[in-house]
Amino acid sequence: AQKVTQAQTEISVVEKEDVTLDCVYETRDTTYYLFWYKQPPSGELVFLIRRNSFDEQNEISGRYSWNFQKSTSSFNFTITASQVVDSAVYFCALSAETSYDKVIFGPGTSLSVIP
């Protein structure tokens, strides 16, 4: 069975603080993809990143960075110097080899950045 867990339901930080959103996944497949999506208050889903299971290199994109660790089945997301516009629900998601077109989303973490 495939599963994505985001243990943090809600996080509040003060603007300019760094914040890390945790994601733990479960799959028996050796080949899979991991994703992060952002859902701002307006409701749409915005793609942030895709990472395949063979690429454990960490990635940085501006204030965003991702730490993929297969050993702990985690794919954590860090926002550096958070801004009010980062306030949103963030979803981690998994697509695995046995069922590539079926993307499993985690329950989401609601991030509030307070000015």
Partner: protein, 116 residues
């Protein structure tokens, strides 16, 4: 920038009525998806569609649901006899290739369906 377009943005329907949610995927995309998000909950996969047939579906996607690509541009989700628990945000997505093809899906802005 190309985008996935969904209409209507909000639909209210009476229980038992049929409803059709419409989506216009990005023009060169070949894979199409529907997802559902009940208010305050996670996004759930419903169905994927490729080459004019369903490639994958979830247990949620039962006989009351159907998908169609009636012409070259639209991709629709039909709910035959709506129930109160069908109230949710429905997202359409499209991608150039399947997820294994190292590409991401682009999501529409969603249609909020309210069944009363």
């Amino acid at each position: 920038e190309p985008e996935v377009t969904q209409t209507p943005s909000h639909q209210v329907t009476q229980m038992g009525q049929e409803v059709i949610l419409r989506c216009v995927p990005i023009s060169n995309h070949l894979y199409f998806y529907w997802y559902r998000q009940i208010l305050g909950q996670k996004v759930e996969f419903l169905v994927s569609f490729y080459n004019n047939e369903i490639s994958e579906k979830s247990e949620i996607f039962d006989d009351q649901f159907s998908v169609e690509r009636p012409d070259g541009s639209n991709f629709t989700l039909k709910i035959r006899s709506t129930k109160l628990e069908d109230s949710a945000m429905y997202f359409c997505a499209s991608s150039e290739r399947s997820y294994q093809g190292n590409t991401e899906a682009f999501f529409g802005q969603g249609t909020r369906l309210t069944v009363v």
